[in-house]
């Protein structure tokens, strides 16, 4: 058995060498790629919305992706708008290099860093992953956290890494570390562990825990376990979150103390009929010493086998001290033929304690859209609501989109 493992490792190592050689060859321009999808894909969306009593607002979003070679891809998403003052930002601008067989990856540019127990953060920086054929992974990353609208903070950067080991096909166990500095001072330093296991096809488990080193204690922990049998899926989940530890320790609001909240609950999904799904979820909560609960039930009915048309209904109740409310939501979407499509969404939220903000907050949106085979997509909608801020509000929305390049 041991010999077999060694022989397999030798074969994999040979593949690694061949893979690296082919990457070098490909980077020299000699690669031959039988890709059929359009390598360059672009999409533009323009959304204009009347601003109720204010000025109209508009957003233009441009995104693109190029995978001309399988070992390199580039991706970008920029937007500009009048909301109502002129503004804009770069959401993604990243290059991704990949050893053809997956032994190494390099990502550089602006992207969302989220790995292991590291809290998701968008950075301007880089990330390198190295993988061994036997399932070990080493990852390191660093960069400057993004400040919206091209702002900047001095001496603000983060760096860290993660090591992980896959246990055959059963799962993965990982450990991570991240340190962030703000104004030259350590603003957060976390170590974390993460795990995902699927020992049998009908059961899986995943979760992570992050431990705050600067002010010792658990910053965030989440776990989820699910069992799936025939048309039923039952999931149990638990979480602990310390908001005070999620702030940089250089923030004044981090000195208020540690008041974590815990949640424990479950979700049941029943595939009741080929087109009908029923879901129910409930959780008990301890929000800084105040006990509460929340839950919802949801029904989704497809109007055809492909799911082009849908009807849905959701009922919700949240009963946490200071946040007691009930709500209902209904959706309907149906194709009308000729590329046209109609959809309707309505919601009503009823707070237990209105405090002069209105006894109920209704909201509704009716939309009509049309899509052409050439890549054009047009949609128009009417949105009306009553909110704590405005007694009545009505808006019209128009979207025009164009996509170039097919997958």
């Amino acid at each position: 058995m041991r010999w077999c493992k060694t022989a397999a490792a030798v074969a994999r190592a040979r593949k690694l060498v061949v893979g690296m050689a082919s990457a070098v060859f490909a980077s020299a321009g000699g690669g031959s790629v039988p890709a059929h999808a359009d390598p360059l894909r672009l999409r533009g969306d323009a959304l204009v919305q009347t601003g109720g009593s204010g000025s109209p607002t508009g957003v233009l979003v441009l995104q693109g992706q190029d995978t001309r070679q399988p070992w390199v891809s580039a991706e970008g998403l920029v937007w500009a708008g009048a909301t109502p003052s002129a503004t804009g930002d770069v959401l993604v601008l990243a290059v991704h290099l990949r050893e053809p067989h997956g032994y190494a990856e390099l990502q550089a540019g602006r992207f969302v860093l989220a790995t292991g127990a590291v809290h998701p953060v968008q950075i301007d920086g880089g990330r390198v992953i190295a993988r061994a054929p036997w399932g070990s992974t080493v990852e390191t990353f660093g960069g400057a956290p993004v400040v919206p609208r091209f702002g900047s903070r001095s001496y603000d950067w983060l760096a860290g890494g993660r090591i992980a080991e896959s246990v055959a096909d059963l799962g993965t166990l990982g450990f991570s570390y991240v340190q962030r500095r703000d104004g030259g001072e350590v603003s957060s330093e976390d170590i974390g562990a993460d795990a995902a296991f699927a020992p049998v096809k009908w059961f899986d488990l995943g979760g992570f825990a992050a431990y705050d080193v600067t002010d010792p204690g658990i910053a965030e922990a989440r776990a989820s376990a699910a069992v799936k049998v025939d048309d039923w899926r039952v999931e149990l989940f638990a979480s602990q979150l310390s908001p005070g530890r999620l702030l940089p320790s250089t923030s004044l609001f981090s000195v208020l103390g540690d008041f974590p909240s815990q949640t424990f609950g479950g979700t049941v999904r029943w595939h009741a009929a080929p087109r009908l799904d029923l879901l129910a979820s409930g959780a008990g909560q301890d929000v800084s010493g105040g006990l509460g609960s929340n839950g919802w039930v949801r029904a989704s009915l497809k109007l055809d086998d492909r799911g082009d048309g849908t009807l849905g209904l959701e009922l919700r109740r949240t009963d946490v001290p200071g946040a007691e409310w009930s709500g209902a939501r209904a959706i309907a979407a149906m194709p009308l033929g000729g590329g046209f499509r109609y959809s309707e969404e309505i919601e009503i939220a009823v707070p237990d304690h209105p405090d002069g903000r209105g006894v109920a907050w209704p909201w509704g949106l009716s939309a009509l859209s049309w899509r052409s085979r050439e890549g054009w997509d047009v949609a128009a909608a009417l949105e009306a609501s009553s909110t704590p801020l405005h007694r009545y509000e009505a808006d019209a929305l128009v979207r025009l989109s164009f996509a170039l390049g097919k997958p």
């Binding site: 593949k15 059929h36 999808a37 959304l47 991706e75 937007w79 708008g81 930002d89 959401l91 993604v92 990856e105 969302v112 292991g116 998701p120 993988r131 054929p133 919206p148 896959s166 990982g174 001072e185 993460d194 995943g206 992570f208 002010d215 989440r222 776990a223 989820s224 799936k228 989940f237 979150l241 310390s242 908001p243 999620l246 702030l247 004044l252 000195v255 208020l256 103390g257 540690d258 909240s261 999904r269 080929p274 497809k302 109007l303 086998d305 946490v320 309907a332 939220a349 707070p351 909201w363 939309a367 009509l368 859209s369 909608a381 609501s385 801020l389 929305l397 979207r399 097919k406 997958p407």
Partner: protein, 353 residues
């Protein structure tokens, strides 16, 4: 009046209702849908290659080798309709799926025909079923022969998939996103973020987790297309967001940083310095303190959203050492920081000697 007609009428209404429900729920198929009659051909001994001519020697490019009308009339010499056969026999979405599979997968029939020794049914098992959705094999069928453990470990899907992220297809038998996936995905993705990246682009992650998020909600940009119940900021979220934030303190920081609140509140005139409205409920700040202290301890991130950075001076004004606001530290507060030199301690405790 006899009770029999009433009973019969009720029975008929019940039967019609049940039949309608069966159609709506998908238990009974709509008569309009008409999958191709593969089984009938197989039962009559028609070989696959008689209609799909030349498929046994194809590579991973080129036409689909679907039969033309000329192929059909070789046997069906008196067609019952003048329209093309594919108008009724076979469903458009199945042909579309076959075209997409041709575009998205690196797959050659020629190599597989040798391995399967010409037995098409070994992969296309549903061809013998009476009314299958499609005869295209599912990925589990591929795994029946190709174990792909190494590729799974190395996240190397490119051997078969041209570009999974662009493909955008939902897996049917592995990594299925079920239940309350929006809440669940964080726990699941922690250990396998790079596996997620096999299908999901950076843009998809950044549309929620990005700091410079587009000033329009993702679902609003997909207006009319993307209608579903699940979604964190869907529908009248603007009205109920303060209740949702209060019910799960800190959850907003999963995607937003402290500055995100101020960005939106400023646009809507609900921000420090604004005279139009205050987001705080009655009793928030009173001469004896009010609710703001206890609420700030539960979710300090929300406070930092508008009052962070330079706005911290608002708190310092009252809560500095010797100030009228008193000690803001919670029970059991302990810090390793130097109160006279490190931030944020020095804001209230003052610079030391």
């Amino acid at each position: 009046m006899s009770r029999r007609p009433v009973g019969l009428t009720l029975l008929m209404v019940l039967a019609v209702t049940l039949a309608a429900c069966a159609s709506v729920l998908g238990i009974r198929r709509q008569p309009a849908s008409h999958p191709f009659e593969h089984r009938a051909h197989v039962m009559r001994g028609v070989g696959c290659l008689e209609c799909h001519k030349g498929i046994e020697i194809t590579g991973d490019t080129g036409p689909l080798h679907l039969p033309s009308d000329a192929d059909c009339v070789r046997c069906h010499q008196q067609p019952h309709d003048s329209r093309p056969c594919q108008t009724c026999h076979g469903e458009t979405y199945v042909r579309d799926a076959a075209e997409l599979a041709r575009a998205r997968l690196r797959f050659t029939h020629s190599r597989h025909m040798i391995a399967a020794q010409g037995d098409c049914v070994r992969c296309h098992a549903t061809v013998t079923e009476s009314r299958p959705d499609t005869v295209m094999p599912k990925m589990a069928t591929c795994f029946g022969c190709h174990e792909h453990r190494d590729q799974w470990t190395l996240r190397d899907c490119n051997g078969c998939h041209v570009d999974l992220a662009a493909e955008g297809s939902m897996p049917e038998d592995h990594l299925v996103h079920e239940g309350d996936w929006l809440r669940e995905h964080g726990s699941r993705a922690a250990s396998e973020r790079d596996l997620c990246a096999s299908c999901h682009t950076e843009r998809q992650c950044a549309s929620c987790h990005g700091e410079g998020t587009v000033a329009a909600l993702p679902w609003k940009l997909a207006l009319g297309d993307d209608v579903r119940l699940a979604g964190l900021h869907r529908a009248g979220f603007g009205a109920r967001h303060s209740l949702e934030a209060r019910a799960d303190p800190g959850i907003c920081t999963t995607c937003h940083t402290e500055s995100s609140c101020l960005d939106c509140h400023s646009r809507r005139g609900v921000a420090p310095g604004s005279t139009s409205a205050s987001p705080h409920p009655p009793g928030w700040l009173t001469p004896s303190g009010g609710d703001h202290g206890s609420q700030a301890r539960v979710d300090p991130v929300s406070c930092a959203g508008c009052h962070g950075g330079a706005g911290e001076q608002l708190c310092v004004g009252c809560h500095r050492v010797g100030g009228p606001g008193g000690n803001p530290h919670g029970p059991g507060f302990n810090s390793r920081k130097d109160e006279h030199h490190d931030l944020p301690c020095r804001l209230c405790h003052g610079a030391g000697p």
